[in-house]
């Protein structure tokens, strides 16, 4: 019923302070007369947050709290992200804005979908196991694009110091000014290693320790394998310890040659030589036994969160953080012992099959 594009009369624009949305002319279909835009509709139509029933807290990130919630209109289960606004004298937080941009552009079954922005494309840059969700149908979903950066065009001026320490690529630790999608591929290598080992691969507590863990595992890099290495800013102040051996094979003695090749490819020190996502899919690791199964054939598991109360499960969209996989990595508060056992055996089963 609103005729927003209609030219308002000149007296309508006289007030310079009020929001411009007030200046639209609204003609009621019922009476045919002009009317004021109701206060609640000034910002346009977005749904009232009360239409969602909070079920439980899923987790707490840097920028806010995520709840599992039920849409009261259709019963769908959604993730509700509440963004902290208390200290935002500069308006909406930049991470939230960028996250919304990425989610709006992503239509993929492996990514948590954006349904609604309630007021009140990319480098993920924060890939870690606690940001991966596994539905009870065995579908992996990536969540939390709070630090994602748009890559529609060449990436410029990306915010430094992103990515959880354990999954941080060496070029980031050594303060390279360049950030490329190779960052995510390093994180993918760390996640693959974590899934294979059942525990975090490189759990550093400080940036220095993180670098040492990387060197312990992969050997000290040099200009020969990574041409920009000695020019990296961090190396102007200190030197890495010397450790000549690549210990991936010792770390994963049971892993096939193809599996080790894939890990080594993901852990190339030089970001330019590191595997791209497309190259990984070509890896022969995915063509040998055990073959990746159709997602529909992934083992499903019972929905534990719902069991806590007396209510029966109403949904098939329950997301469980993979981080509960014995890693101790999670910042989740819910105790889900049975699920972590189940996921642990799932991974082991895959390894042994």
């Amino acid at each position: 019923m609103s005729q927003n594009s209609e030219k308002p009369s000149s007296q309508d624009v006289a007030d310079p302070t009020g929001p411009a949305a007030r200046k639209g002319v609204l003609i009621s279909f019922r009476t045919g007369k002009t009317m004021e835009i109701p206060e609640k509709d000034i910002l346009g139509r977005c749904r009232f947050v009360g239409e969602f029933e909070k079920l439980n807290r899923i987790g707490e990130g840097t920028y806010g709290i995520v709840y599992r919630a039920k849409d009261k209109l259709n019963g769908n289960i959604v993730a509700l992200k509440k963004v902290r606004m208390d200290v935002e004298k500069d308006g909406l937080p930049l991470s939230g804005l960028r996250e919304i941009q990425v989610l709006m552009a992503c239509r993929h079954e492996n990514i948590v979908q954006l349904k609604e922005v309630l007021v009140g494309r990319s480098l993920e840059r924060d890939l870690k196991v606690s940001n991966l969700l596994l539905t009870d149908k065995g579908c992996v979903k990536i969540a939390d694009f709070g630090l994602a950066r748009w890559l529609g065009a060449p990436a410029r001026s990306a915010t430094p110091r992103v990515v959880t320490l354990w999954y941080r690529a060496p070029e980031l630790l050594l303060q390279s000014p360049k950030q490329t999608p190779a960052l995510d591929m390093w994180a993918a290598g760390c996640i693959l290693g974590e899934l294979l080992a059942n525990k975090p691969l490189l759990p550093g507590r400080t940036e220095i320790e993180q670098l040492e863990l990387i060197v312990d595992l992969l050997g000290t890099p040099s200009d020969a394998i990574w041409p920009e290495f000695s020019t990296l800013p961090a190396l102007q102040n200190f030197t890495l310890k010397q450790q000549p051996y690549n210990n991936l094979k010792q770390r994963f003695p049971w892993l096939s040659a193809a599996g080790l090749r894939l890990l080594n490819f993901l852990f190339m020190y030089d970001p330019n030589k590191r595997a791209t996502a497309e190259e990984c899919l070509q890896s022969s690791y995915f063509k040998e036994q055990p073959l990746p199964c159709d997602p529909k054939l992934m083992p499903s598991f019972p929905q534990h969160r719902n069991m806590k109360g007396q209510q029966k499960p109403t949904t098939n969209q329950l997301n469980i953080p993979l981080s509960n996989l014995n890693t101790g990595a999670n910042d989740q508060t819910n105790n889900l012992p049975a699920i972590s056992d189940l996921l642990g055996s799932l991974v082991k089963k895959r390894r042994l099959d």
Binding site: K7, P16, A20, L43, R121, R156, A182
Partner: protein
């Protein structure tokens, strides 16, 4: 809109981390296709001076965009901030009539959003208001930020002409040889 006293002063908001061209993207033919689709979906179809605005005249847009460019240059903004901000402003103006007194407020809000989208360190609300000689109040900017976002359907990621420069340069043999080619293309 006045050009302000520029009391925001020294250019503190320099982005130090600049990523170079991304070879993985250069090779990908989907990049240009996506950019073209994106550009088409956000093209304006109306002459808003004719059909929407009653108070705003073309020369006012010129004055305010010149002021925006000055602010962006003095703050050494990332090069995309200015064209993006102008694009947000145009998309808003194609939908809603505002008064000339509100034009600079809209410009400030557009620059705030564009800098949040493109820069490590966005321009601060206080700084932007200082550039208006305090004719715009920070509270207004925070209020308009949400309103502008709603009008843009929260869609900040849009293609500007700048986005096409790198993919084009990557496709011609002389594109990357001389830095001046890029400078003049922008």
């Amino acid at each position: 809109p006045n050009s302000g006293n520029h009391s925001g002063g020294s250019s503190g908001a320099v982005d130090m981390c600049v990523a170079g061209p991304d070879r993985a993207l250069d090779r990908d033919p989907r990049l240009l296709l996506n950019l073209l689709t994106l550009e088409r979906s956000h093209a304006l179809h109306t002459d808003y001076f004719q059909h929407v605005q009653i108070d705003i005249q073309p020369f006012m847009r010129k004055v305010v965009t010149t002021w925006m460019l000055e602010v962006c240059e003095e703050q050494q903004c990332e090069e995309q901030v200015f064209p993006l901000a102008v694009s947000y402003m145009d998309r808003f103006l194609a939908q809603r009539a505002i008064s000339r007194q509100q034009l600079q407020l809209l410009a400030v809000t557009s620059m705030l959003l564009a800098s949040k989208f493109r820069q490590c360190q966005p321009l601060s609300v206080d700084l932007l208001c200082a550039y208006t000689d305090n004719s715009v109040h920070p509270n207004e900017v925070r209020q308009w930020e949400v309103m502008l976002l709603q009008r843009l359907n929260w869609q900040l990621s849009i293609a500007t002409a700048f986005d096409f420069v790198e993919p084009f340069l990557a496709r011609v043999p002389w594109g990357r040889g001389n830095a001046l080619v890029r400078t003049h293309a922008l």
